[in-house]
């Protein structure tokens, strides 16, 4: 293409140059991605900016007053009900991501180091329940943990308990169990990917140099897979903090999370600006928590070496 431009007579130079520019790699690449990019800009970035703008406004019945105010943030951060919901959501999402990563790591390790030829079959087996409807998975936990549910009736049938326990459903533990199950598969993939990248000769070198199996795992494999642990933790933590279905179905009164309060502001309570401020606050705090998690895991990784 450039050759054509160089050989062109001076008069047609500009057009040829423009063609060369149009056919250059960056321009073509950008042109190709622009529809998708625009879609994301209009339906993701713009909406989030609109939410941020709303969080600084006030609502009077059906009209929005666009004078700048921080009142919504004061309410979101100091009203006991929202403060408690925020803390609980953060606690639940942190606990869930901790357990998901803890439970997922051995599986990812098993597939990566002992999976042999069947690695992709294992990964497929483990991810398939994840592809079923999230709503249905939460619903099945309601069936399991309910007062007249599978677990209670099963335990009673086995003679372990005499009457149905009410402690199983409608509390934050039920939310944690359900979310840990729902996100299990999501944590395995990033850990698996980073374990695949661990240079096996390094593990052998550590063993040859006299490290026991446990030591070589703790000092070589585990630190080298830290990036996978980080992304697994974040991929679970950020979405679960804003979970709506699980607290609504199995959380009861003690398991309500911030997303339920946000939804109420856009529904019954009809206070969009407060709902917007709650959304922004949640995102900011979970980002801080995610950042802290990254720093802590990195520090642990350095210590292990």
């Amino acid at each position: 293409m450039t050759a054509a431009a160089e050989g062109a007579p001076p008069l047609r130079m500009t057009r040829a140059r423009r063609n060369a520019l149009l056919q250059s790699e960056p321009v073509q690449g950008f042109a190709l991605i622009s529809p998708t990019f625009l879609y994301a800009l209009i339906l993701l970035v713009l909406p989030i900016l609109v939410v941020i703008a709303h969080s600084f406004w006030t609502q009077h019945y059906l009209t929005i007053d666009r004078t700048f105010t921080l009142e919504n943030y004061r309410v979101a951060l100091t009203e006991p009900i929202y403060r408690d919901l925020l803390w609980r959501s953060l606690y639940i999402s942190l606990t869930v991501s901790f357990f998901t990563v803890l439970l997922a790591y051995p599986i990812a390790y098993f597939i990566s180091f002992h999976g042999g030829r069947h690695k992709s079959l294992w990964l497929f087996l483990i991810t398939i329940p994840f592809w079923t409807s999230y709503l249905l998975r939460v619903m099945s936990w309601k069936v399991i943990l309910g007062y007249n549910g599978v677990l209670n009736s099963g335990l009673m049938g086995l003679g372990i308990i005499d009457e149905p326990s009410t402690a199983l459903l409608y509390n934050s533990s039920a939310v944690i169990i359900t979310l840990t199950h729902a996100w299990a598969a999501f944590a395995i993939l990033p850990i698996f990917v980073s374990l695949e990248k661990v240079d096996r000769t390094l593990v052998e070198a550590a063993t040859d140099l006299g490290d026991g199996p446990l030591r070589s795992f703790l000092r070589v494999t585990l630190p080298l897979s830290a990036p996978g642990i980080i992304s697994a933790a974040l991929i679970v933590m950020i979405p679960t903090v804003g979970d709506y279905v699980t607290p609504k179905l199995v959380g009861g009164k003690d398991g309500v999370m911030i997303a339920n309060a946000i939804q109420a502001q856009f529904g019954k309570a009809a206070n969009w600006p407060l709902g917007a401020a709650l959304s922004v606050t949640t995102m900011l705090i979970v980002s801080l928590m995610a950042g802290a998690t990254v720093l802590i895991i990195r520090a642990l990784q350095r210590m292990a070496r």
């Binding site: 960056p26 190709l32 909406p47 079923t132 709503l135 991929i235």
Partner: protein, 274 residues
């Protein structure tokens, strides 16, 4: 090597992997079990086999409407998301340009954002623009959340795609369209079908975004949500849920087989000519 297998020996790990699979599948399996049980409440011991709950399903007009709506939304969202996914995946795997990673990150972002916040932001904008909520707004939302999955499937199909094949075709006198139709398309077709199936499954199962962005029309998950309030409707919901589980399972299995075939095809071709 031996030391590695001595620590966390394969035996212990295999046992753990087995238990883990049970933990993943067991809760889901209760849905089909209780959907063919005669008792209206899901508890042990099982009382007897029946298909009554399934037979009732086609006699519920609201359910049929919801199924039709889900089909419309699923097909529209998967086609749109796959078209946008093809453009983006092709651009990412084929070209190098500044800002490529940032744009990719933005397109993939819905995957890791809390769905409620994505849904509410879109709701605000749509209400501000005066769009009335309908299945169309649900499609718009589903396309956004489907694109990242479509991208993942398509990128793995497009990667390793040997550009010299296209160049050879062009050198041998094929037009750009001819090259696309006779060289590019056959190689990436399995990945594209796989992306369509994955997106359809996601749209079929997606609840939150549909819940916020729909007007009066329900999709299947919204219909299920509405039924959950009534304890007496539970067996029907379990039966419907089982059908959805089976549909998702089949669609995803076909999608995975196709995705692997696509990845293998591009790699083999690349290997042959490299």
């Amino acid at each position: 090597m031996t030391a590695r297998s001595r620590f966390l020996p394969g035996g212990w790990l295999s046992a753990y992997a087995f238990l883990y699979i049970v933990f993943l599948y067991l809760p889901v399996i209760f849905l089909p079990i209780f959907s063919i049980n005669t008792a209206p409440t899901p508890k042990f011991p099982l009382t007897g086999f029946t298909l009554q709950w399934y037979e009732d399903l086609p006699r519920t007009p609201a359910l049929l409407d919801a199924a039709w709506n889900s089909l419309i939304v699923g097909v529209s969202a998967s086609v749109l998301a796959t078209v946008l996914g093809i453009l983006a995946a092709r651009s990412i795997t084929r070209y190098r340009y500044p800002g490529r990673r940032a744009i990719n990150g933005l397109i993939m972002a819905p995957l890791v954002l809390p769905e409620v916040i994505v849904a509410i932001s879109m709701l605000l904008v749509m209400l501000q623009l005066g769009l009335s909520l309908s299945l169309f707004t649900v499609v718009l939302g589903h396309v956004l959340v489907c694109i990242p999955y479509s991208m993942t499937v398509l990128t793995s199909g497009f990667e390793g795609f040997d550009r010299s094949l296209e160049e050879a075709s062009a050198d041998l006198g094929e037009s750009a369209f001819g090259t696309f139709r006779r060289v590019t398309l056959p190689m990436v077709a399995p990945a594209i079908i796989s992306s369509l199936l994955v997106c359809f499954t996601i749209s079929l199962d997606e609840f939150i975004i549909a819940f916020f962005l729909t007007g009066t029309e329900a999709t299947l998950p919204i219909y299920i949500w509405g039924q959950l309030r009534f304890a007496s409707k539970l067996p029907g919901v379990l039966a419907l849920g089982t059908l959805l589980l089976v549909a998702s399972f089949l669609l995803m299995t076909i999608a995975e087989i196709l995705r692997r075939r696509a990845a293998r095809r591009t790699q083999n071709e690349g290997g042959l000519y490299a």
